[in-house]
Each structure stands twice: as C-alpha cells, then as structure tokens.
C-alpha cells in the first residue's frame, strides 16, 4: 500500500546551486523528523511540498494525488498545512481571527451567502468560532482568544501558528522548527502536545528540528539532509550512530571543525 505522503527524486535548483538533489521521502503516520545542518535544504523541501517552490524534477504525491503544480491553497485544501521557521502570523489580527483564516479552505460559503447573511451563513460562522476557540484551548491559548497576535509572547505565537495550521483540518502537518527559541521545558510541553495530536487526530507530522534531544525523543523516523541530499534515514537510534551523520554535524574526525570534502 502506498504511503500517505510520498516524495520521489525531488530536485530543486536555484540557478547554479542545487538546493535539493533527488530526495526521496515518505511518511505514513506518526512523527517523521528532518534534521541536518543549516543550509541543508530542509526548509526548501517544505516549500516544495507546500507549493511555494516548483520542483525541477521528481514527484510528490499525497493520498496518491500528485501535488507538484498545485497552488499552496489547493495543497492546503487537500489536507497538508504548515508552520514557518520565522513565525508568520497575521500580526494585527487577534488569535481567534488568525485561526479563522486557517479554516478558509473548509468554508464552502460564497459571496451571496455573505451578502445575504442567510441562516446557513450564521450557523457556519458560529460553528467556526466555536471550533476556533476549541483549537486555541487545545494549544493552551484559551486565555488569549482576543489578544492581537503581535502582543503574544514568543512561545504563544509559535503555539498560535500551530493552532492556525490545525484549523485547516490537515492530515499531514509540516512544522518548521516549532521549538526554536523555546526553553527545554516549553519544548517538551510542545512535543507532548504534538504526540497528543498525532494520537487524537490521526495526524502525520513532518518536523524540522534542531533540538536533538527533542528529535530523538519524539520522532518515529529521522531523515538527515546534508547539502540537499539525504544521507541517512531510519529510527532515531540508528541515525544517531550513523557515521555520515556524525560527520555532517561534527566534521571529519581529526580534520578540525566542520571540514568537508564538498558533497
């Protein structure tokens, strides 16, 4: 049986630079992490998966549907949503409004429903608002429903981004360094939350993460990228002891810090 989400031979070039080179990646359920040094191509991979970049070669399928060539909003409508490495909230909108925007792809009302404000519209709006409040509760922001996103503390903003992504009812969630800037305690709490989401919503998660303790603790599978290539893949323990991974992260033994022989 084919995987929920499958990428084959994804290649992305920026002019002369090959940011991704024939990357294969698949995820079915649970949490799959992507790690690698800075500039390894992790975020580029996310941008290809979510339709922000067009891949030069390769294929990406989700539930057997090809994704390449689709617009970001179409991909979101199919059930893939993401967060951003540098938080990109709608800063001047309140927390609940941010989450409501995330529901856009699940709203079937048209212009006429809005203008006539018919019973269907009103029912839908109140259902959406109730669901948005539940989502905010789920990520622990119940006290900040009407706070403007910009005024939220840093960790809360990360959590709000998560709630906004969940609002589109995704089957696959792409999280780009969700614990960046968090303390170890906050990061653990977030991972606990993610584990809960995976269990309750039958959600698959792809996680880009730098915090090794978090990655090794929470992931079902780990993929390691370096210079746009996949250099290792497997259960966390296996990857941790892989020689190429250690080399990519720590540099060659005896060759000084981060000496490389050009990939």
């Amino acid at each position: 049986m084919p995987s929920l989400f499958e990428a084959r031979g994804v290649t992305k070039r920026f002019g002369g630079l090959t940011a991704l080179h024939a990357v294969d990646f698949a995820v079915d359920r649970g949490i799959a992490s992507i790690i690698g040094p800075n500039g390894a191509g992790k975020t580029t991979l996310f941008n290809v998966f979510t339709g922000l970049y067009a891949a030069d070669e390769g294929s990406v399928t989700f539930r057997d549907r090809p994704l390449l060539g689709l617009r970001p909003d179409q991909i979101t409508a199919l059930g893939i949503c993401r967060t951003f490495q540098n938080i990109r909230l709608f800063s001047n909108m309140t927390a609940i409004e941010n989450v409501l925007v995330g529901m856009n792809s699940r709203i079937t009302l048209g212009l006429w429903d809005v203008l006539s404000r018919n019973p269907g519209f009103r029912r839908t709006e109140s259902e959406l608002a109730a669901r948005a409040v539940r989502l905010l509760q789920r990520v622990g922001l119940q006290a900040s429903v009407n706070v403007v996103a910009r005024n939220l503390p840093y960790g809360d903003r990360r959590r709000l981004e998560l709630a906004r992504a969940l609002a589109s009812e995704p089957a696959l969630l792409l999280l780009d360094e969700p614990t960046a800037g968090m303390t170890q305690g906050e990061a653990s709490a977030l991972m606990h939350l993610l584990r809960g989401l995976v269990a309750d919503l039958e959600l698959a998660i792809i996680l880009i993460e730098h915090n090794m303790r978090v990655v090794m603790e929470v992931s079902d599978r780990v993929t390691v990228l370096d210079h746009g290539e996949k250099i290792a893949e497997g259960p966390p323990r296996e990857v941790q002891s892989n020689a190429r991974v250690i080399e990519a992260y720590l540099g060659k033994r005896g060759a000084g810090p981060r000496a490389r022989s050009g990939a």
């Binding site: 979510t50 922000l52 617009r71 970001p72 909003d73 979101t76 409508a77 949503c81 993401r82 951003f84 990109r88 909230l89 709608f90 800063s91 001047n92 909108m93 409004e97 409501l100 925007v101 995330g102 529901m103 856009n104 792809s105 699940r106 709203i107 009302l109 212009l111 809005v114 203008l115 404000r117 519209f121 709006e125 959406l128 403007v148 910009r150 906004r164 992504a165 609002a167 589109s168």
Partner: protein
C-alpha cells in the same frame, strides 16, 4: 438619560439654526457636526439610529426645502461616501493600492449615459433610444455588473504586483479609461469624445418628487446598501481573507486562502459600488464628459479613505463627508468671504486688502489649504479620524 437629552437637543437646535439661517455655511457645518455628535454620543442604540434616521430622512430634505444647494451637497456627499467605501475594500481591507479607482465610476456613468440618451442611436442606428426612464433602475444593476467585470479585467494583469508597482499600473488603468472616453468618438462614436454625452434621461420619480430630493434619497438608499454589504463582507471569511492577504500574502496562501479569487473579488466588489453610483451620477448630471473622471478624482477618493481611517467604515463615511464639504463649501465659502472683504475695501493693519495682487486671490488656494490639512492630519493623526481597530494596532507600536 442626560446624554440622550443632550443629543436630542443638539440635533434639534442645529436643525432649527439651519432653518433660521439657511444661507450660512457655518450653521450647516454645525448641523453635520451634530450628526457626528449623535453617532458618537453615549446614548441607547435605538435612540442613536432613530435620531440619525430622522436627521437624514426628515430634517435633511426639510433643510433642502430652505436651501436646495445643501441637498445637492448632501447628494454629492452620498456619492463620494459610496466611492470611498468601495475603495476602502480594495485599499483598506485587501491592501491593494488602487490609484485609478474613478475609472469604475466612469464605466458606470457611461453605461447609462450611452443608453439613456439619444447618443445610442448613433451607435446602433434607428430611433430606439433613449431608453424609457424606468430602464434607469435596470441600469443601476447593469452599471454594477459592468464595473465589477471591469474590476476583474483590471485585477487579472496586476495579480502579481504589490505596493508601488500596483499603484502605478492602476494609475495607468484609470488614465486609459479616461483617454478611451476622450477618444472613442472615432471610428465608431461610442462616447462622443471630449464633447461628452447629453441629454441623459432621468427616471420618473415616485409621487412627483422633485429631482433634488429624489436623487438625495436614491443616493442615501445606495449608501445604506453599500454600508450593509461592506459590513457583512468585513465580518466574514471573505473579509478576514482580505486582511490576511494584506498582513502576509505568503502565509495567507499557505493557510488556504485562494489568492487570485480573493484579490479579484476585492477588485470586483470595490468597483461595483462605484459603478452603481456612476449610473446615478450620470442621470443626476444629465451631462457627462471625460473631465469628470480625472486622476485628481481618484486621488480625492483615496484622500477620503486615508483621512477617515483606512479599513474603517465610519472612517470612510466621515472622510468622504469632510473632503466633499471642504471642497464644495468650506474652501469656496472662505474664498467668497475674503473676496467680499476685498471688495468692501477692508484694511488690516493699515494694509488695504484691495491692494492684494490677483495672484493672492484666495480662490486659487483651495487645493493648497486642502493639502495643508492632509499634511497636518498625517503628522498628528496618521491613523485617520475614525481608525479601524487593526490599523490602530499597526500604528500604535
């Protein structure tokens, strides 16, 4: 309770003052100010809307009975309020800076002007035109539709543009429409070129109402419809999607907002309001030519939106009122007053005003005074008179 009494008293007194001094611009401004006072006063909602309804439905037409020019001013205000509210959707909510907005107004105006005047006979031959007056009501919707389609046509090529680039292209678009109107008298005479189209039919009025009152009420009805539409759009997923696009386009796309559809919808909605008012405008004026749709008009409407407070409905209304009244009454009144002083040979500090060179004639400084007011506004209250909640937040940090 005391607030309610004061509000009623202010409105009644100002209306009475207008009836007593029907020629005084200051007193009419007082009346407008009292409407604002009622809107802002801490009184029960029912009383507030009741008072405003009485003021607009009864007092204003009554004032028009004493001085018909005030009714004309009120109608103009209505037209510009609808335009400002339309542009407010495009610029204020969706964040798409449109400098050619008056083009949609022109499209609406010409759609009725052509078919509601004998001019259409030149295009189609025969003697079938002008259409009967009642067609005007059909054309309110035709103008709406035509302007909306024009809005989409403008939107399509500029979807990828932002900020300055978008502003320049829309500016060009506005000029294209005006130049087309100016030159489409050959090879087929569609617009009659700079000479304009006249006479444009007016609809039959109910109960033999005079045209001054009729157009006032029609403009008021359209404005109310536009306000309701605007509010409903703002409080819906469509409005939220527009604001999300303005905040962060890339994030909005990634969260499932269909960018193309939403942007085109913003252009179409904004344009349609202008289209309806264009139809009314052409019937009211009986004569239109390209001069009514210059770049300066687009800028004027934009100034109303900015002055009032971008993205805010009460802001657009107040902004449109202030700018229109400033242009039609205050600055003109000021010029007139200074001229009177001059002609009367008044001297200030031993200097006779009559000796002022003609270059100093105040009538020539209308635009400058307007400009100074705008500059002062931007320095001391950049968020506008009635800022939108969110814009307030943007400028507050």
């Amino acid at each position: 309770m005391i607030h309610s009494l004061i509000a009623v008293a202010v409105l009644a007194l100002s209306a009475f003052a207008v009836a007593t001094f029907p020629r005084s611009v200051l007193v009419f401004l007082l009346f407008q100010g009292s409407l604002l006072f009622v809107y802002k006063a801490r009184i029960p909602e029912r009383l507030r809307w009741g008072l405003l309804a009485i003021a607009l439905l009864v007092l204003m037409p009554a004032i028009g009975y004493f001085n018909s020019y005030y009714l004309e001013v009120a109608t103009q205000v209505g037209i510009f309020v609808a335009l400002a509210l339309g542009l407010n959707i495009v610029v204020g909510l969706a964040g798409l800076l449109d400098l050619g907005y008056v083009a949609f107004f022109a499209v609406g105006a010409y759609s009725w002007a052509i078919f509601g005047s004998p001019h259409a006979n030149i295009i189609f031959g025969g003697e079938g035109f002008p259409l009967a007056g009642w067609w005007f009501y059909v054309f309110l919707f035709v103008g709406l539709g035509t302007a909306a389609v024009t809005g989409i046509l403008l939107g399509l090529p500029v979807l990828r543009l932002h900020g300055d680039y978008l502003a320049i292209v829309t500016l060009g678009f506005g000029e294209v429409i005006r130049v087309l109107a100016n030159n489409l008298d050959k090879p087929i005479n569609l617009t009659n070129g700079p000479k304009g189209i006249t006479p444009i039919s007016r609809p039959p009025t109910p109960f033999g109402m005079p045209y001054g009152e009729y157009f006032y009420f029609l403009a008021l009805a359209i404005v109310i419809a536009v306000i309701i539409a605007n509010r409903r759009l703002e409080d819906s997923h469509i409005g939220r999607a527009w604001e999300a696009i303005r905040e962060d386009e890339l994030a909005a796309r990634s969260m499932g907002v269909p960018l193309v559809r939403m942007k085109l919808m913003a252009f179409a909605c904004g344009a349609s309001f202008a289209g309806v008012m264009g139809v009314l405008f052409s019937a009211k004026q009986v004569f239109i030519n390209p001069e009514s749709f210059t770049f300066l008009e687009s800028i004027g409407v934009l100034a109303m939106v900015i002055l009032g407070g971008m993205g805010s409905i009460p802001g657009a209304i107040v902004g449109a009122t202030v700018v229109t009244v400033l242009n039609l009454q205050v600055l003109k009144g000021f010029s007139l007053w200074l001229n009177e002083l001059k002609n009367a040979g008044v001297t200030i500090f031993g200097f006779s005003l009559a000796d002022l060179p003609t270059q100093f004639e105040p009538a020539k400084y209308e635009r400058m005074v307007f400009g100074i007011i705008l500059v002062l506004m931007m320095i001391f209250r950049p968020q506008g008179i009635f800022p939108a909640r969110r814009r307030q937040r943007e400028l507050a940090h």
